[in-house]
Symmetry: C2
Subunit: 320 residues, 2 copies
């Protein structure tokens, strides 16, 4: 029904169709038409309603398809297997299942919409239909387990570099892996790993990028903390291009990391970071710590200079 309604509006290419006409064609009440219009809006359609003229389609969510994505991919190791879903609970869950079944490194899972997208620290992640990049990628790195946190920093570096290049926006990294524009978050990264002793079995790199979300996708109090690429740049972005650009950058940085270790990744991270050399408060499992972040340790931990002059590594914390 909703698909039919969307098709009818799209057919008219931005012209108004009266509610009466729609209700006749679809054989439902005008109230039902209105309810379906609201649903379409929730899915990312932008529809203008006029009491006199009816409804007209202003904007429809774009779709990621293999046809749009595959020709753009320039990677040789990543994204050679791509699974597209319309709606999933979480791409991380699907990736984890596939990884346990033996899916190869670089397998990519994409969804138009996540019903229960997951973020760091058990938080939920807003993933409305057709407006963002909601993806998970399977890695099978040969690094020892203690180096896993380096991969989360590597992911932030690759995503930040790709998005800066593709959008021209001034994007910085907040420790460890949030990307910010003017202090507002545009993407989230979540790495989940599984290990046998000190050997990583797999790492699932989860990335959420708020690409074409509009103000109305957010609640009022979210708008202080988050922003989309579209809101920041004033234009709509092609999500397939963003995915391809990120994968290309990721493959380059990941290969560099395999060849030269963490040092070059650390330099890139430190150069893009907006968290260094400013006093901050860290909420750790052991309590609140205050100090000045001065860089990254070899382990990937944040080096925090305390008031007493000591510098300590912090593995897990929330920067407030």
């Amino acid at each position: 029904m909703r698909e039919q309604l969307a098709a009818l509006l799209e057919e008219k290419q931005g012209e108004y169709v009266s509610g009466e006409q729609l209700s006749r064609i679809l054989n439902v009440s005008r109230t039902a038409v209105w309810k379906h219009i609201r649903k379409l809006e929730e899915e990312g359609y932008k529809i203008e309603a006029s009491r006199k003229l009816g409804y007209r389609l202003v904007d429809s969510p774009d779709q990621i398809t293999l046809t749009s994505l595959l020709p753009r991919l320039t990677t040789v190791r990543l994204g050679r297997s791509v699974k597209l879903f319309d709606e999933v609970d979480s791409t991380q869950n699907i990736a984890q299942k596939l990884a346990e079944e033996g899916a190869p490194e670089g397998t990519l899972i994409l969804a138009e919409r996540q019903l229960s997208g997951r973020g760091r620290m058990g938080r939920s992640w807003l993933s409305p239909k057709g407006r963002g990049v909601w993806m998970s990628m399977i890695l099978r790195p040969t690094i020892p387990l203690p180096y896993t946190p380096q991969l989360t920093l590597l992911t932030a570096v690759a995503l930040c570099r790709a998005l800066r290049r593709l959008t021209g926006l001034e994007i910085g990294i907040k420790w460890p892996n949030d990307l910010l524009i003017d202090g507002r978050k545009i993407s989230g990264i979540l790495l989940e790993s599984s290990a046998e002793e000190e050997r990583l079995r797999h790492v699932i790199v989860g990335v959420g990028i708020s690409v074409n979300l509009d103000k109305q996708h957010y609640t009022e109090d979210m708008l202080d903390r988050v922003i989309s690429l579209k809101m920041a740049a004033g234009i709509t972005f092609d999500r397939s291009e963003i995915i391809a650009g990120f994968l290309a950058e990721f493959e380059a940085v990941y290969t560099l990391y395999e060849q030269e270790g963490f040092a070059p990744v650390r330099s890139l991270w430190e150069a893009l970071s907006v968290s260094l050399h400013k006093p901050c408060k860290l909420t750790t499992p052991q309590g609140i710590m205050e100090g000045i972040p001065v860089g990254l340790a070899d382990s990937g931990a944040l080096l925090l200079k305390l008031e007493d002059g000591d510098t300590v590594p912090v593995f897990s914390a929330e920067m407030g």
Copy 2:
């Protein structure tokens, strides 16, 4: 049928029963009786066969039951939930499933027999019925991910101390976590972990102890490398007592670790180790390294002193 046969033999308390009599009571051929006798032997029964007199039961495998185990447990945090299985593919797989479903810290999974018990480096682990401790325990530590290797060393310390106390045998730790008697392995430890970013979600501590295995449980070429507690001490051990003793020791060392960190665990490990201060060869994912292990790093890595005098940390390797 096999259970009936075992019951018949046990009834006779070590007296011979003729194959003819058994075949009559069970209503099967004498060849079938013989085949079932062989199966019972595989399950851990020790049966003497005489062409003239028939069969007599010399020894039957003991059983771990909640009645035998629970009164022996002195722990307050570990083993408060115990799941006993007769036969499983691997206790690790069951534990992992339970952990993902939210099972609490200390949940213990025990099996009389594992069909595909797993060891380190993807190896299989021999787990014949009724002869060993084949167990997995769920932990939910609040340590950061990079410290996970410390837990595998901690497990070796707890198991070594418990077995030395319970058996009086001279047992040492081979890096990282094999327990040896005179160079022959009596137990294996396998830790599998799952993490979200730098936060551990759960760790499954897998422990296999070759308690009452006899020579015939092993192949000829295994006998150079492995031994059971029974073979080493000349007596049969109560497996429930061993489980309870290990849990008590683990809880003590784990609590110490939570309170004082890795330092005391490192000291205990170094004291029990048979791998330190002797030249050795390590097979790492990057190739073979030679040197002298001099101790453990804070990270849990082995500190290897190379020929050129440099000391390097080794995370993942096989000591050959």
